[in-house]
Symmetry: C2
Subunit: 248 residues, 2 copies
């Protein structure tokens, strides 16, 4: 099976990493809209317009499935993308919600959703979790964590003070935290430590693997996956980051 | 005189503020490319392409002059923009360099240039200052300060630890600091305090007023300036920010 992975930038490589670890695909074609990243501060119409342009891009390739790794796209543009595609389009929100249910079935669990401004505003995770009976939810738009990850500050004072800025008012550690942005897995350790290891972290990449394995037939696994990386600007930069993150 | 002001987002409002304070123009037409902000992390070709699209936008209006408030655009796209325009196009880099010379004529002065990754990489300020004999220069790409300003964190722990992250290795306060990004004047107080008031700060808005008054005839001043705000997305948000920043 061939899969396309669409992201607003480089963050979706954290999803590619999970796909590779499970040897699910023969070929992965990645497109990052690096010329227009970040999507998380843009409005709904713009997010939908850019996402439909990505659909056009993937028409250049034979793919069986498209994964939108970006939480913001998944929260806003999935219906429109499905209408324009001949194949399945899967976002990361529903898989994240299901992964949470598998990890913590208790509907009284105290769940914290982290995301960009747009993702939090969409209420996509909240709606999904509510429909499964979860009611003890809070959400924080932790937008600054995106450029902090892009600057490579995975530890240190800037990250710590930003975590304190966002989480300082919480009186106790959440039972689970949804990392609702593909950048956040890169600082998962710091977030976990901040809450003294008391919170279960839900990661889009692992969630989507769980979802794919439940919904598709992966009897055949691939030792080697062909990888193709494209970007709307500076594709060399994306390939360099991919090499580093994916240890290619 | 009617002027167009182009910026990658809302930051250029700090330049509009200076223009208004000096009553230079009859009409100011502002265009912020909010759908594609920030430019400071993009590559040269993309910055030029987007800047030329802005030139097309301003062809809808009768303007006598175009100011590119964005330092990144000023550093990369000015020549191309001038070729496509029927009127003058002024960036903020040359005015900033001249304002520095007026403030601190000593060529041995220790000067720190702050900007986005793209602006620092362009070396535009360094070249300009070198040509005037300044040689004691350093530059730091302080990109994280942009989203910090956009989140409204003009003071507090996140800002302080980020300033420390960027400036912690400096052994003494610079004689002058060029605020080479339109967002930075909003945290000028914090930067000034960080260096205990020992550094002279150069602000693009004030620099451009100084430059305009030296190069154009402003015998007539305007008590009231007509303001028009446009944005490639969420123009209401831009107008709201303008009201707040410009105290309209």
């Amino acid at each position: 099976m061939r899969v396309g992975v669409f992201d607003s930038g480089v963050g979706g490589l954290s999803v590619v990493k999970s796909l590779l670890e499970h040897h699910l695909f023969e070929e992965i074609i990645y497109f990052g809209d690096t010329a227009r990243v970040p999507y998380g501060v843009k409005d709904q119409n713009t997010i939908i317009r850019y996402s439909l342009e990505a659909i056009e891009f993937f028409k250049n390739f034979e793919i069986d499935l498209l994964i939108t790794a970006c939480n913001t796209v998944s929260a806003y543009a999935l219906d429109e993308m499905r209408l324009q595609s001949d194949h399945d389009v899967i976002g990361v929100v529903d898989p994240g919600v299901l992964a949470l249910k598998n990890a913590i079935p208790d509907p009284d669990a105290n769940i914290l959703i982290l995301g960009t401004k747009a993702t939090v505003k969409s209420g996509a995770y909240t709606k999904g979790l509510n429909s499964l009976g979860y009611h003890n939810l809070s959400a924080i738009a932790t937008g600054l964590l995106v450029p902090i990850v892009e600057e490579g500050l995975y530890e240190g004072e800037v990250l710590q003070s930003t975590l304190h800025h966002y989480f300082g008012n919480l009186t106790k550690a959440p039972d689970a935290i949804i990392l609702g942005c593909t950048h956040f897995p890169l600082i998962a350790n710091a977030i976990e430590s901040y809450f003294e290891g008391k919170s279960t972290l839900i990661h889009s990449g692992e969630a989507i693997v769980e979802y794919l394995e439940a919904h598709y037939d992966f009897t055949k696994r691939f030792e080697k996956t062909e990888l193709k990386f494209f970007a709307s600007e500076n594709p060399e930069g994306l390939r360099r980051t991919a090499k580093e993150w994916l240890q290619l």
